[in-house]
Symmetry: C2
Subunit: 399 residues, 2 copies
């Protein structure tokens, strides 16, 4: 039997190249710098978070939580939103705890896409893979809005305006942006917000990397902008900044009207989050000084990693504004896929092809320098990448 007649087109034909690359990594003993999670694969749970998790599990067991999340966790989230995001939200009615931000992003988009209605969603390109997939898997049409290296991949409202049609329904973006590390500037965000209000668009913003921002750059939370609260859904995560990716905890924040819809179906699509992890997440949100410590590590590594990769002839590297990754223009050496394959074979290291982040990512690779706890280990892997790419540049006559 062949089931292909039964399968929805949105589920066919998507390249599974990088998926399969991921699967076979472990078997081939290749070092991965492709997973954006702090110190992966090393353990990174802070002591107070571990203790809260274990004691929650031992003392309170592991029954279901409410679909919208444990109230005490939601209160810790509300308190953090006030301090960190300039948002004053009702912990009963305006927060939904989600099993990570990926599921959160998919779910954030879902109620707004009318299948069969050709709803279009504007998405900066390059930006996180899930921004495109969340739309496609919900039956909408992702529309790529190019970002430009010339201005550090900042949002450009003019580019959004060019892509508007009567079917435009929503904008999805990540701030800070993954993979470019760009922290979007206030003036550009404000222009985009004006467009959003004028055209009655929904805004979904992924804040996964909000914890790791360098050089005191301002993070403007779009939901806090005038007239944006009631049309913005913000997606948060404890994975990227806090290193708690295996906890599977994130949260959505939106106005009561939108949240009443999210709350109602949460259990049927997302399920509640893991109960013990919820206790740990509360501890992490209440005392997140460890994130400053992480940021200092990544800031130190940023200098070394940037310098090392920039020295490769023909390679152009962006000085990171956030996170723990390099966004590297390798177009003079080959396509994204060629270079990724080359580095697996020659340097025995896996990095992400730029094309994972949209068509405009062609000619780029993403390198996670936040992997592993040991600085020297990550430097020696970066050195392997550097030597491999230098060899390739030499072969291509670039010196």
């Amino acid at each position: 039997m062949n089931n292909s007649n039964n399968i929805n087109d949105a589920f066919k034909g998507w390249s599974d190249k990088s998926y399969n690359r991921g699967r076979h990594l472990v078997e081939r003993d290749i070092t991965t710098l492709g997973w954006a999670t702090p110190f992966y694969p090393d353990n990174s749970i802070p002591e107070h978070v571990l203790n809260a998790t274990v004691s929650g599990l031992k003392n309170h067991g592991s029954s279901y939580l409410l679909p919208e999340g444990d109230l005490r966790l939601r209160e810790a989230i509300a308190s953090r939103l006030k301090k960190f995001n300039n948002l004053d939200v009702n912990s009963h009615k305006e927060i939904l705890v989600t099993p990570g931000s990926n599921a959160g992003l998919y779910y954030a988009v879902k109620p707004f896409i009318k299948p069969g209605a050709n709803d279009e969603v504007l998405i900066p390109d390059p930006s996180y893979t899930g921004n495109f997939l969340s739309v496609r898997l919900n039956g909408g049409i992702p529309v790529s809005v190019p970002l430009h290296a010339s201005d550090g991949f900042q949002l450009d409202v003019g580019e959004f305006e060019k892509k508007l049609t009567p079917n435009t329904k929503m904008i999805i973006l990540s701030n800070p942006n993954n993979p470019t590390t760009t922290v979007h500037k206030r003036e550009n965000i404000l222009s985009l917000c004006r467009l959003c209000v004028e055209k009655d668009l929904i805004m979904v913003v992924d804040h996964s990397f909000e914890d790791i921002i360098f050089d005191s750059r301002e993070l403007l939370t779009i939901a806090s902008v005038e007239e944006m609260w009631e049309r913005t859904i913000t997606v948060f995560s404890l994975s990227k900044g806090m290193g708690l990716s295996g906890y599977r905890i994130g949260y959505l924040v939106a106005c009561e009207e939108l949240m009443s819809i999210y709350h109602r179906f949460a259990v049927n699509i997302l399920g509640p989050v893991n109960t013990a992890a919820s206790y740990g997440a509360k501890a992490a949100l209440e005392d997140y000084a460890f994130v400053d410590f992480y940021r200092k590590i990544f800031e130190r590594r940023r200098e070394v990693a940037f310098k090392m990769i920039s020295q490769i002839p023909g390679v152009d590297c962006l000085f990171p504004e956030s996170g723990y990754m390099l966004w590297v223009n390798i177009s003079k050496l080959g396509t994204s896929d060629e270079i990724v394959k080359y580095l697996i074979d020659d340097a025995r290291v896996i990095v992400n092809p730029g094309t994972e982040y949209g068509a405009c990512g062609e000619g780029y690779i993403r390198i996670i320098y936040g992997a592993f706890k040991d600085d020297e280990k990550i430097y020696s892997i970066l050195e392997r990448i550097k030597e491999s790419l230098k060899k390739l540049a030499f072969k291509k006559g670039i010196i």
Copy 2:
């Protein structure tokens, strides 16, 4: 601003009665017998599962797992599937670990529904709420297929045939069934399988209650029936039988062709499961003798609960075949909603209205006698229900 123009119709107009009832429970200090999870709200984690969870967390940390789940957990699942479900599956290619069976059910259905194509899905009524919602939230049309009290709510292939149209795409059922506790008989399942093959239908089967079956009834795993493997997706859970609902671990099983599609998008919709819980789940699946112990408790309670509720004048109660619930015909006393409301006010107990499980559930309520660890506690709550309903029967002139 009002966002209602932006919202997909499938997300509007669904009654949130029982959702809101759930929310306010805690505040009103009402005892809930509405959550189908063993011993809820008491802790029910077996010692060896707790130890494996905590030591996994402490020793291996909590980085991301592979989207399809940790291989060692999938191996434990494959071994259990062989022993328990008569299924010989490839742990690399035919299993997907999911964050519980609710998200698993939604996800199982997703690739087969073509939005806008009016795909119809046949669903026994009454059966689990999620069977209907998973279809609706994916853009399909749930078609209710009535089950009948007269034959203990067994599957009746004739009823399915009556509802077939050219748009029929899939059948979803739970075995054992929730809320009726029916364990579907081999001969009925085989007839339904023949229909499925003949009409090229996909079959989704939820096995959430497979662990708690009484009187040595046979559980026929549909995926093991000839010609069904390649068209069946089976949804499993560690919540209902093993009491690990807060772990958020379940699994999907399907042939490689279908699973390659599920695997590919798992991370974008479901996310991987909680890492520490995955270690605990492996321990639970490798040593599940505790489930026999749970079953004996529920079997003992079944006798008492059935007897108590059956004594109420005008009330008709099914002797449970599985699980830890009573499916109670209260139609002589009032509608499902009236009786639920009455019991909250008069007995200070919450139970589920039959209408949560489809239109055919009208006139029924579901009572979870598996709540709490202490037998006497549950008996005293059932006594409150009995006294309340007797009083109501008396008022209505039923003696």
